[in-house]
Amino acid sequence: MIDHHIPVVRLVNITKSFGDVIADDGVNFELLPGEIHGLLGENGAGKTTLMNILYGLHQPDAGEILIRGEVHQVSSPHKAIELGIGMVHQHFMQVATMSVIDNIILGLKVGSDFKLGRDAARKRLLELCKLYGLNVDPDAFIWQLSIGDRQRVEILKALYRDVNILILDEPTSVLTPQETTELFYTIRKLVDAGLSVIFITHKLEEATSITNRVTVMRDGKVVATKETKKTSKPELAYLMVGREVLFRTKVETREKNSHRDVLRVSNLKVKGDRGNIAVQGVSFTVQSGEIVGIAGVDGNGQSELTQALTGLREVLSGNFWVDDVELTNASPYKVIQHGVGHIPEDLADGIVSDLTLVENLMLNRHYKPPYSKNGWMNERIMESEARELIHQHDIRTSGALAKAGTLSGGNKQKLIVAREISRNPILLIAVHPTRGVDIGAEEYIRNLLVQMRNRRGAVLLVSTKLDEIMDLSDRILVMEKGRIMGEMMREEANIEKIGLLMAGAEG
């Protein structure tokens, strides 16, 4: 029988730092048998690091780990699995070129040293599938599967290893609302079968809907552990960020006078990385003084679409125009020349760490007067303009001539946004502009986007955060499998409607 009083996991005073950054600072945590325990916190609060320590991927600098009352050194994931701990990472730990069954048995002693026991493993896997109502084809290759399927493979991988403690790291961030419902159903089934679950999330909605208890982390410390029934979303939000959070930035309905089409996209098809067709003929427009938001689960062609629009990826067929100039398959240089700004999807693609802040801020204008003349840079003008931008956008740095690599994530993103917006683009393509930044920077960046729109600029916003899309967009498009599934004005939008489209229902 499960003893409900001895915690299956107890973390005592766990401390871990990476270089100068302290990720976890004296953290205490308890997981009771048979509970679903939410681990809530913002990006960078130290949740994932803590769980990576429990799973043996990192070693703590200080502190103890107790599993079922006994102190253990979890020296490796291998050890963690022996102790009955499994983890489903946010980025799936799978080898895409291998089959499902090979991924399941990876690292296990199945069969002899000279022959893998695939057949026996396949049988066992199918039994598990049946038991928990999870459906996957053991012989399919991972790269052929949908994200939801891949997540099921991860869960099955843990179950196959007989774990009774399961850590789920932000499991819903890649799922449609409908898939999320399915996942919650699976989790409850696992708990009924005797597992204890740690559920890492930064979404209040999830923390309150599925968990029994919630531990809130902030800046590497535990702020509180609450019983879910005895707390509320506002209280958790307050604990999470240390102040009231309500994004005030929202667009106001715009006046309906003459707006011109700034971006016109017609039947665009774009190739993906694996030879697939990632964007399958999309058409839309973005007008001046308008933010158009593209909602959708990650990996449904948004990246490829924006890369094609910025000249970074080849267009197979179809065309697009910016202010009636056709830019299909133009070089990135030409696209920028026509007044298109771009906040790239991955922060790392916007910054050259080894160059100074000044040089990074001038990256998109250095080649023309007055910044350079006859091939020579004008450092004086570059520096004075850069200093102004740093001041104006409050980029926290030790100096304008410091290397950009020394900035924090939020400040790096501010630098990119400052650089792109200060050129007064007629069209700004902003891809996940607030991903991985702190709340302060997030609010600031949202503000800048809205300001640009109010100055009659056109903004194409791609985001997986539905609240961001709904707060900022005048018009919303939903992408699924490379197609635009539906279009709606902000007034007509709601989560359910967008969720259905994200899942592929015709709009």
Binding site: G19, S331, D349, L355, E379, G405
Partner: protein, 361 residues
């Protein structure tokens, strides 16, 4: 709390190593010392006396007027080859073909200085040097364009083109350009109007070293002050970010590699006009490959290259004395060269921030 902070920094020696490796010049010196240390152990293992060997080496390379002159003579091609590798590597292009480009430069210099006759030295010498730079640039252009357009791995192409150029060169001095009078596989002597002036009387120390140092300074200025240099640094720092910002990454790389080839070609030209005064197979004892060690030791910094070139030139020059007086074969140079390259690669290990950047890009 205080306790946990102490826990965070448990190993002071690790901090120490990090601080040392953050200071670039200290780690550079350490790399050299370590290479010589391992080299010394090796000398010990083959029954030599490392201390004596190294003393002889230093004496041979700096001990007298002629030794010093010869060291500087060898510094010249080494410096240019180092700059060549460095500028290409700044755009993540591994030019292992500097050796071939040196020979390609020598061929065109040879053509310009043997078959063009009767013009003033003021025109003829620059023409001969320019021809060399052109030859190296052209030979480097091929792998550059192959990588830019077709994404062909440049390590293999530049290396294979070394072999090919060696055979072309050998064919030329064995046939079309052969000096039939001498009976050897060498070309006739080049016109006197293309000889580089001697700096130090009664030695081979020629004025090529001034050109090489000038090249290093010019390269440093290009990298710091010009649009091209800025773009090269951006591409080398983060190719994707450069591309996203509208920089034509492939063009930038091709330009850098052409400069790289021209520098190597110039090295060949200077060897011919300054030292050999004719084409002769095997005139470069692997300067192109040494350039790799020179550039890496200097962390691709043009001014740093001057000093690391001097170091390797002294090593190469003193090796002869080492073989004669301490019975350590010349091949020891290659061993130390390889060790310097390997230790240069390791030093980033202690500098985690650099490492993360490299792994991330």
């Amino acid at each position: 709390m205080a306790e946990s902070i102490r826990e965070l920094h448990p190993k002071p020696w690790k901090q120490w190593i990090k601080r040392i490796s953050d200071a670039n010049w200290i780690s550079t010196v350490l790399v050299v010392l370590l290479a010589f240390l391992v080299g010394g152990l090796l000398i010990l293992a083959i029954g030599g006396d490392p201390l004596r060997a190294y003393l002889v080496l230093i004496k041979g390379s700096f001990g007298n007027r002629n030794g010093f002159a010869e060291t500087i003579v060898k510094t010249c091609p080494m410096l240019l080859a180092g700059l060549s590798v460095a500028i290409a590597l700044r755009t993540e292009f591994w030019n292992v073909g500097a050796e071939g480009q040196i020979y390609a430069g020598a061929v065109l210099t040879g053509l310009a200085s043997i078959y063009i006759q009767g013009i003033s030295a003021v025109i003829h010498l620059p023409l001969a040097l320019l021809a060399g730079a052109l030859g190296g640039g052209l030979w480097a252009f091929i792998p550059a364009i192959l990588k830019a357009r077709l994404k062909v791995n440049e390590v293999i192409t530049t290396l294979m083109m070394n072999y090919i150029m060696t055979f072309i060169f050998s064919f030329l001095v064995d046939g079309p350009m052969r000096d039939w009078v001498s009976g050897l596989n060498i070309s006739p002597q080049i016109e006197k109007t293309t000889w580089l002036p001697i700096l130090l009387a009664k030695t081979r120390l020629h004025s090529g070293i001034l050109i090489a140092i000038l090249a290093a300074v010019v390269l440093a200025v290009i990298l710091r002050k010009t649009v091209l240099g800025y773009q090269i640094r951006a591409v080398g720092g983060n190719t994707r970010a450069a591309r996203f910002a509208g920089i034509a990454v492939e063009n930038t790389m091709v330009k850098a590699v052409i400069i790289s080839g021209m520098l190597a070609g110039l090295a060949g030209a200077i060897e011919i006009t300054g030292v050999q005064h004719r084409l002769i197979a095997g005139f470069s004892p692997g300067y192109g490959f040494l350039g790799l060690a020179v550039a890496l030791l200097a962390s691709l910094n043009p001014i740093g290259v001057i000093f690391s070139a001097l170091l390797f030139a002294a090593l190469l020059n003193g090796a002869d004395a080492m073989q004669r007086w301490a019975s350590v074969p010349i091949a020891m140079v290659a061993v130390i060269q390889g060790l310097v390259i390997i230790f240069s690669a390791i030093r980033f290990f202690f500098n985690r921030s650099t490492l993360k950047r490299k792994a991330g890009s």
